[in-house]
């Protein structure tokens, strides 16, 4: 169970509904580990600055995380967390391992501008 202030995705259906009903969605899928916690924290901070983007997290070890692990964009990922950016229901960017606030903001500017 992730201990963050983000909303958690707990099922495949929930993720599908989320990306179908929102234009811009960012999901950080990981554990409570050293590379993941900074990204959750950055998402929490950026929620205030980007109200048009849905920032969520997902526990890497729940069965529903298979939907993230199985994405073609994550095929070569060997570092937590997997961070996926969806626009209009489609994956527009995916990153692996820790990202700085600057890197996350740069991705947001690139794919959600």
């Amino acid at each position: 169970m992730l201990q963050t202030d983000l909303e958690h995705i707990e099922s495949e259906e929930q993720l599908k509904e989320l990306i179908e009903n929102n234009e811009k969605v960012a999901v950080c899928c990981g554990r409570m580990g050293p590379m993941c916690i900074p990204v959750y924290d950055i998402f929490e901070i950026l929620q205030e600055n980007y109200p048009d983007i849905q920032f969520w997290d997902m526990d890497f070890d729940i069965p529903a995380a298979a939907i993230i692990k199985g994405l073609p964009e994550c095929r070569k990922f060997f570092g937590l967390p997997f961070t996926i950016y969806y626009r209009n229901g489609k994956v527009v960017k995916a990153t692996s391992s820790i990202q700085s606030a600057k890197e996350v903001k740069s991705v947001i500017d690139e794919v959600f501008a």
């Binding site: 580990g33 590379m35 929490e44 820790i98 606030a101």
Partner: protein, 305 residues
């Protein structure tokens, strides 16, 4: 221009300890950090040597508590904020952030800490998370029964290697010296494991991918000859660097390694500018020493205001 009594740059234990003290003394306090609050503590799995906790506490929990404690006393935060301009002199101190707001204060406490060192060689950034890793706890299971490199020979490299050995088929340690710098007890546990071999006196020069394998091009520092070796992944643990790049165009005195020089009261060569925690030039870098530095700098500010 927004005015505060104290601006603290860095929201790790040193910065947050300073903020708790200055805020409790009713000084208008702003904490700025390019990331979230907590510094390196938030990425530490368990902290077992911080006084007051009988059982180890999760690093992110300890960091979160420090931040909440500062907020309770009305510390303001600007997090995930980049400094775009900085002026520090005896007479005037101001900071401009990427939100284009400018902030000024009578006192500034620098507490930006340190970060894991990168090798900064071709391929390192490109394969981060897809062949190059910096965290055994996080990524070891992706390399179950695989052959990997560990770059580094210090304490963190050997401690992380011990964890990796529970998962991987083999480790090739690449180290720039003829002996490991880690504590002997830990180093021995690694070197005596039959799954480990060591490439001494070599330094990586480039990483690239070849047929689903990661290739390390490493230079022998004695002969300057290069070798190319293939494994499934690369873990890098090569120490820490001070987060002081943003001070390079300021008059703040740094050591040749980039640490800030202070007097015993934490004051730098600029009047009213203090440094606390791992960014300071000092011997011991612990959460407790960072908190102590932050406390001293805050008390100095409170005394002078």
């Amino acid at each position: 221009m927004r005015k505060y009594n104290v601006i603290i740059i860095g929201a790790g234990p040193a910065g947050l300890a300073a903020a708790i003290y200055t805020s409790r003394a009713a000084l208008a306090t702003l904490v700025i950090d390019e990331s979230s609050a907590g510094g390196q503590v938030k990425t530490t799995h368990q902290v077992a040597n911080y006084p007051g906790f009988v059982e180890p506490i999760a690093g992110h929990e300890l960091a979160g508590n420090m931040r909440k404690q500062a907020e309770r006393y009305n510390t303001k935060f600007k997090l995930a904020a980049d400094i775009t301009a900085l002026h520090l002199s005896d007479q005037e101190k101001w900071i401009e952030l990427d939100d284009e707001d400018k902030y000024t204060a009578e006192f500034v406490i620098i507490a930006t800490g340190s970060s894991p060192r990168l090798l900064n060689i071709p391929g390192e950034k490109d394969y981060k998370g897809s062949g190059v890793s910096y965290c055994a706890t996080c990524d070891a299971e992706f390399y179950k029964d695989k052959d990997i490199f560990v770059i580094g020979g210090g304490n963190s490299a050997m401690e992380e290697s011990l964890l990796l050995l529970q998962f991987v088929k083999s480790i090739t340690v690449i180290h720039q010296f003829d002996e490991l710098q880690a504590e002997k007890i830990t180093a021995d546990k690694v070197t005596m494991n039959p799954k480990v071999n060591i490439l001494w006196s070599h330094e990586p020069r480039a990483f690239y991918e070849k047929e689903n394998k990661m290739v390390v091009e490493a230079e022998n520092l004695k002969t300057n000859k290069r070798v190319r070796l293939e494994r499934d992944g690369i873990f890098i643990f090569v120490g820490l660097v001070p987060n002081s790049a943003f001070l390079k165009n300021t008059p703040i005195q740094l050591t040749k390694y980039g640490y800030v020089i202070t007097d015993p009261q934490m004051e730098t060569n600029i009047r009213g500018v203090y440094a606390a925690g791992d960014i300071r030039d000092k011997r011991h870098r612990q959460i407790t020493t960072a908190v102590g530095n932050g406390t001293i700098s805050a008390l100095e500010v409170i005394h002078k205001i």
